[in-house]
């Protein structure tokens, strides 16, 4: 039977549409345990490819005949081999083009809303890793917030919309993924904004983004108001876009809150995190739509694949916003934390411009989930 190729985009659509899929993941057991393709109705079987070199007969009875089957490996090669063996055994199967490497890098643009005067805001869902970037478009100009390393996608998207990228922001110095902010700014001539308290050791020029700064996109009315909200990092800054959207960076997520330990200062920053979430955010309109920089679990996705919720609803439902007791809050964000993101210290060094490993190395460093949140 036939062997088909499935792209990361096609798998993403299955996640968004809550379709069924049977995933035969032929990576190592450790790699599978650590990180896999998540979907609400996905089923899994993990058998390393090197257990299948003598044939697939032994696993045939574990593979359903009534479901679409996708074979997945790290880079593609092994999944093609296993898919061909299954095909010879009479099954129709697909393999994931580019493997988990492509899954980690795939970005799916989703429109999250309209702005005044015909402007738009898009969320770029990095489905495999749980990172979210944003593009604000207004009157021929675009601003990008929390860009990923795959900068072509943003540049091409702006071109397809016929807009010029004029401003690029990072809400904070990221520890889980490599920022593409500086690269896009260099390529397009845009201004690259960073919170100065997170940029103390950077090796390049940037524009200092202070709390209270206002940057106008297009020459009409789309303003980006910076709101200093430390806690995940000391410089962490949120943005209120068009008085409607709250880009919360890694401070507040849909079903979790930011962890304060990735710069090694959990104890020091607990107070800042609490103040940001319980005082500074409380002072904002509950009608603001929160757009975070990450999701942790697939349940945080809306029907259309976007990750967004009104601030008022999060105050009611997000556990991390409902812990009045100081000591309990401190425990939640400093004890029993999940493992840190892969290579997080080196990633911080890259984002400061201190080291620049070759692309393949950067890709490897980003393997795995983001792990920036605590629940």
């Amino acid at each position: 039977m036939a062997v088909n190729m499935m792209t990361a985009h096609q798998v993403t659509q299955k996640v968004f549409n809550k379709e069924e899929l049977f995933i035969l993941d032929v990576r190592n057991e450790d790699a599978f345990e650590d990180w896999k393709i998540e979907g609400e109705y996905f089923e899994y079987l993990n058998i390393p490819y090197f257990e299948l070199l003598d044939g697939v007969e032994e696993i045939l009875d574990k593979i359903p005949s009534n479901k679409e089957i996708l074979v997945v490996c790290a880079k593609e090669g092994s999944s093609v081999m296993v898919a061909e063996m299954l095909s010879e055994a009479g099954l129709t199967v697909s393999y994931l083009q580019g493997g988990m490497k492509a899954w980690s890098e795939h970005l799916e643009p989703v429109k999250v809303g309209n702005l005044k005067d015909g402007g738009e805001i898009y969320q770029f869902v990095r489905i495999g890793k749980g990172c979210l970037s944003y593009m604000v478009i207004s009157n021929g100009e675009a601003a990008i917030i929390d860009t990923t390393r795959m900068t072509d996608i943003f540049v091409n998207f702006a071109t397809s919309k016929g807009v010029k990228i004029t401003n690029v922001f990072d809400t904070h110095l990221h520890a889980d993924h490599i920022s593409g902010g500086r690269k896009i700014a260099e390529q397009t001539g845009a201004t690259y904004w960073l919170p100065p308290k997170d940029a103390q050791e950077v090796t390049f020029e940037y524009a200092a983004l202070e709390g209270g700064s206002v940057v106008t996109i297009g020459n009409t009315a789309i303003d980006i108001h910076a709101l200093y909200s430390p806690g995940h990092t000391i410089g962490s800054t949120s943005f209120v876009v068009d008085e409607k959207f709250l880009l919360s960076g890694d401070i507040l997520f849909i079903d979790s809150i930011g962890r304060p330990d990735l710069a090694g200062k959990a104890e020091d920053w607990v107070g800042d995190l609490k103040e940001s979430l319980y005082s500074r955010y409380r002072a904002l309109s509950e009608e603001l739509v929160v757009l975070p920089a990450h999701f942790m679990i697939i349940d945080e996705l809306n029907e259309d694949g976007s990750v967004a919720e009104k601030l008022g609803k999060l105050f009611a439902k997000n556990h991390g916003l409902n812990i009045e007791d100081e000591a309990e809050f401190r425990r939640l964000v400093t004890e029993n934390l999940p493992p840190q993101p892969n290579a997080y210290q080196e990633i911080r060094e890259i984002n400061r411009g201190k080291i620049t490993p070759e692309e393949e190395k950067q890709r490897e460093m980003e393997i795995g989930p983001n792990r920036c949140a605590v629940r």
Binding site: A31, Y49, A74
Partner: protein, 75 residues
Amino acid sequence: MDVSKVLDAKGLACPMPIVRTKKAMNELETGEILEIQATDKGAKSDLAAWAKSGGHELLKDTEENDVLKFWIKKS
């Protein structure tokens, strides 16, 4: 180390380093040592896991100038 055979798997992408390793191991006697040279980074965790599941002993592994070397003793 008394190496019985050297397998050059440099430049080969996954799954070939392990496919070749398995084949080479079949030609060895119990207790003999195979040296594998590879450049595919994934080989590191995969070869270790493969050796373990087959009962072979991974005696040593090194990385020098982007070349990974492994020494596996056949069970």
